[in-house]
Amino acid sequence: MTPTSVWHRLDQTARALVPGLILILATLLSLLPLGIPGWGQVTPPFLLMAIFWWSIHRPQSIPPSVAFGIGLLQDLASGAPIGQSALLLVITQWIISGQRRFLAAQPFLLVWGSFALVTAVAAVLEWVCYALLTVRIPPIESGLIRAGLGVALFPIVVRLVLLPAQRFANDGVVS
């Protein structure tokens, strides 16, 4: 085996790991105490953004089991009902990877719109899950603020993180 092939292999592995690393980064980002007052209550759904993006552009990197696992991790770390985020992420991955060919060919505005739709549905679904599990009606405002912030930040996160990461993962051209 020549050194080049070893490097090539390492390179390939690194690129293949990028989507997973981004998912872990997104999870950490929503858990860490950043010291911004009130941040914890409105943390945008970074994980949902990452799952949404990779389901369109690199579905082979996040099979349903990965979506499930990272959702479970998020639930365990955030104190949410165990299985709630896992369910949301698996459903998101399922629906989006079914539409990926269509979405990949659309202009960004439409992708953004789809993300807004997914986020809104996820917020409502999360609210329903919580209401069913606690047999109470929690106020939905904070969920909607969170979703709104997520939709507003989506283009920035895509431009600064997801798109460069996707290019790096796919062909090594870092823009």
């Binding site: 007052p37 009130g38 104190g79 459903i91």
Partner: protein
């Protein structure tokens, strides 16, 4: 002939792809059902869910503590930087506050002496002493409908389920899922938080009940109770776990039955928490700081008081 061969292979690849898509769809369905089953199980067996979360916290908390280290130092630098700019104004404010606090201290010392003499007259048996432990917050509130934080302290440090968590200013919540070196603190604003309290002035009993908003409700208030904004609310100790008299909040608004409390602790920005242990095992005279656990910073104690002690 060659064409036929290629066609065959194409068809085979097509079948494989189709098969793979079906398998993936099936696994999605299975995983979604597993997630639902987990949620239902967590609801049915709350103790098991609590144990699982506590164990998971033990794994996650050190990771978060490690990753958050540079963030908290960066925040400290930032804070120091901003403080440098506002030093003169801050100094004037602190001098003014110091003067006010000295007056308070004088009256506190007087009251303490008076209290001691009255207690000796009555042969009063004081409340069991408490032990406090300080824990760093490593996990912020992340769940959409859960108001809780993860701290780096667990059974190893003597933390037990139900213990009160405070900042210097007031009550924050109580420990729920306690692992070996990590615990989850359910904030008093959470939907599942209910804390028995009394109104400090009138000694009326009530419950501070969270509803996920910033200002929890005061419920189970007696019909004839006179509650007005500005009154202080402290723990009553009726649950048998919390000590009596921990400051909780100030009555913020009264609209008929809808009475709201503004927590004294700043829940939007938690860094260090004090966990209060009232268990009998910790009752040794050496470990008995007075409540509330406020230690004066060095240099802020007036000379007069230093001389006295």
């Amino acid at each position: 002939m060659a064409l036929g061969k290629r066609d065959g292979r194409g068809a085979a690849i097509g079948t494989v792809q189709q098969w793979r898509a079906t398998a993936q769809r099936l696994s999605s369905l299975l995983l979604a059902m597993t997630a639902i089953a987990l949620m239902v199980m967590g609801k049915l067996d709350a103790t098991l869910a609590e144990r699982v979360r506590a164990r998971a916290g033990d794994v996650i908390a050190p990771v978060l503590a490690f990753v958050s280290e540079p963030i908290s130092s960066a925040n400290d630098w930032l804070e120091e930087g901003t403080h440098l700019f506002a030093l003169v104004r801050e100094n004037a404010r602190l001098r003014e506050e110091n003067m006010r606090l000295r007056q308070w201290q004088d009256s506190a010392l007087k009251l303490e002496a008076e209290n001691a003499s009255l207690r000796s007259l009555l042969a009063y048996k004081p409340d069991p002493a408490v032990q406090t432990r300080t824990a760093r917050v490593v996990g912020d509130q992340a769940g959409q409908y859960v108001r809780s934080v993860l701290v780096m302290a667990g059974t190893k440090d003597g933390i037990a389920k139900g213990q009160a968590a405070m900042t210097g200013a007031g009550l924050v919540g109580r420990a729920t899922d306690v692992g070996f070196w990590s615990s989850r603190i359910l904030l008093l604003t959470d939907l599942n938080s209910n804390i028995p309290v009394i109104i400090e002035e009138s000694r009326e009993r009530a419950i501070v009940s969270g509803d996920n908003s910033d200002f929890p409700r005061l419920i189970f208030v007696a019909q004839d109770a006179r509650i007005v904004p500005g009154q202080r609310v402290v723990t009553s100790g009726h649950d048998g776990i919390f000590p009596v008299g921990l400051p909780v909040g100030i009555v913020r608004s009264v609209n008929g039955n809808d009475i709201r409390i503004a927590p004294l602790a700043d829940l939007s920005r938690l860094e260090l928490l004090q966990l209060i242990d009232t268990s009998m095992s910790s009752l040794t005279p050496e470990t008995a700081p007075a409540l509330p656990p406020v230690a004066p910073a060095p240099g802020t104690v007036p000379r007069k008081a230093r001389g006295r002690s």
